[in-house]
């Protein structure tokens, strides 16, 4: 399959990965090589085989829906690794435009 820079750019946008034009080319090349190897998979006959998502046969592991106070962070702890904060809040990028 031919992977082009346009596709890489679109996926990078979906994944929120900033990439330069030079990187796009490199990523497209790596992508193409990887897909080539992955496509070997389709040589395997999987007729009537179910996909498996859990290998050790566990089913429906539940826990009580209550707060575990042992694992709570204080506001200070929650904030002190953030690079950008304001008055005890995290600062995030603006997502709505002003009128």
């Amino acid at each position: 399959m031919k992977i082009n820079k346009v596709l890489v750019k679109k996926i990078a946008q979906l994944a929120q990965i900033p990439v330069s034009e030079k990187e796009e080319e490199k990523l497209a090349k790596g992508f193409e090589k990887t897909i080539e190897i992955v496509d070997e998979l389709f040589k395997v006959d999987v007729f009537e085989v179910q996909p498996i998502h859990q290998v050790t046969s566990l089913e429906n592991i539940f826990r009580e829906d209550k707060i575990d106070e042992k694992r709570m962070f204080s506001q200070n702890e929650a904030l002190n690794q953030a690079k950008n904060k304001h008055n005890g809040y995290f600062v995030v990028d603006q997502i709505l435009e002003e009128d």
Partner: protein
């Protein structure tokens, strides 16, 4: 040099008062100061850890120094997963595994280098520079737990912890000439381990000897209320029957008839290992490799590369989505090229229209591997294979190859995808290069005891382990 002691021997000699903890710490610090700059094994190291160790003497691990891969969250050390995204990040909580090590009286002496986010098999993709193989610094240590394996090979720790998604414990153990145990998926908690491929990730010990791996596994295995995928299957004392022998074990040799492997030295050495096991009383047979699922044959590892690539990249793209630089860490422009490669491929294979084509198809083929092992373990106690298709490769070998890791790990990928347990033990040393090959010993779900028994018996009968008589 007391830093060369195995975990078992160190405990023994401390109890007999023949060696002091201080001597061990002094010797480790000495080799750290001499060699860490060149080998780049530790990203962070606590030079004053003896002060903490003093108070732990009465606990099972006696205050001995344990090296920890830098993807375990640890209080008191930065946790970076060797990525600039997490440069300087200090966690507020401790991973279950390191918590258990601390409770048992182990001291976290430092955090070891790895491929960034554990993506790779070379430790060259670390944003903090590559680690060199202590056996021969012109060569790679393997990865992604390359720093932990190198900490053992260079005697810079008494024991260490790594993590494996597909090969990341066993392959560096093989390349560094040490022992690496990948437990069954769910035997050891993933809580507080930076997630990579969540349906595959598995923490485990990397140690000098098989017995040391059994000792460490005893402390870290078990159900964890913070990791829903951990199992209720009872944890054994893995040291109890370790030396019981393997008389009448049924053992199958895998993959060495495959055209890529059959004429190589790894095939030859694996056959020789089979002979050793036979002389120990096991019934050893060659299993033929098949391109389709067939009874009593092993399904070729070559499809596992595709399955693993799709499943792992998909899970990576999802797991790394949380690193937005808002609550901690740096923003997404700090991802290195390998992480970008994987995020982009994973996002693509999980996107609308492609998830069925790739992800679901891959999970079907994964099911074939599960069925295949189920069938084989109804007949065999353990299966053996080479841990890696080659000796350690020279520095720089991983660059420019997006599939480098998959190719180095191809012989352990089927077992990782199935989630069964495996251990790599040294099975040959090339005298000219001083580089090692590893024997991969696998068994069914939660049969860690069997692989440890087999590995221990093999280790005693051969001369490849330099520590067994120390």
């Amino acid at each position: 040099m007391k830093n060369k002691l195995t975990l078992k021997k160190a405990i023994e000699l401390i109890d007999k008062k023949e060696v002091s903890l201080k001597e061990i710490y002094d010797d480790i610090l000495k080799v750290y100061k001499e060699k860490n700059k060149e080998l780049n094994i530790y990203l962070s190291f606590d030079e004053n850890s003896f002060e903490k160790a003093k108070n732990e003497k009465n606990k099972p691990l006696r205050g001995l120094p344990i090296a920890i891969k830098d993807n375990f969250l640890t209080i008191g050390f930065p946790t970076t997963a060797s990525s600039n995204v997490l440069r300087g990040y200090m966690s507020h909580y401790e991973s279950t595994v390191t918590k258990k090590i601390k409770e048992a009286g182990g001291i976290l002496i430092g955090k070891t280098n790895m491929d960034a986010w554990a993506h790779g098999s070379s430790t060259e993709t670390s944003d903090f520079g590559p680690t060199k193989n202590p056996r021969n610094p012109k060569y790679l240590p393997g990865g992604s737990s390359g720093g932990s394996a190198a900490s053992i090979a260079s005697n810079m720790a008494i024991a260490s912890l790594g993590t494996e998604t597909a090969g990341s414990i066993r392959q560096p153990a093989s390349w560094c000439g040490v022992v690496g145990l990948k437990p069954t998926y769910g035997r050891v908690s993933r809580y507080g381990v930076i997630a990579m491929g969540s349906s595959l990730d598995c923490p485990g010990p990397i140690t000098k000897t098989v017995e040391d791996s059994a000792i460490i596994l005893n402390f870290i295995a078990g159900k964890d209320e913070y990791d829903g995928t951990t199992s209720n299957v009872p944890v054994l004392d893995y040291t109890k029957n370790l030396k019981k022998g393997i008389k009448n074990f049924k053992i199958g040799i895998c993959y060495i008839d495959h055209p890529d492997i059959s004429s190589t030295i790894v095939a030859k050495k694996t056959l020789e290992a089979g002979k050793v096991l036979e002389n120990l009383g096991a019934k050893v047979e060659l299993i033929s490799t098949s391109k389709t699922l067939e009874k009593n044959k092993i399904l070729s590892h070559e499809y596992a590369i595709g399955v693993y690539t799709v499943v792992q990249r998909g899970e990576v793209s999802s797991n790394l989505a949380r690193y937005d630089g808002i609550r901690y860490g740096n923003n997404r422009s700090c991802f290195g090229s390998e992480a970008k490669n994987r995020i982009i491929l994973g996002t693509y294979t999980l996107s609308k229209g492609y998830a069925d084509k790739y992800y679901i198809y891959a999970q079907k083929v994964r099911h074939l591997y599960v069925k295949n092992f189920k069938d084989l373990f109804s007949k065999y106690d353990v299966l053996i294979s080479p841990a890696s298709p080659s000796f350690a490769l020279p520095s720089g070998a991983s660059q420019g190859n997006p599939m480098f890791g998959e190719l180095q790990d191809m012989l352990v990928e089927p077992s990782a995808l199935a989630g069964i347990c495996g251990i790599s033990v040294p099975m040959y040393k090339d005298e000219e290069t001083n580089l090692y090959l590893g024997l991969n010993i696998m068994s069914d779900y939660f049969q860690e005891e069997k692989i440890l028994q087999t590995a221990w018996a093999y280790e005693q009968k051969t001369n490849w382990n330099e520590w067994k008589n120390i």
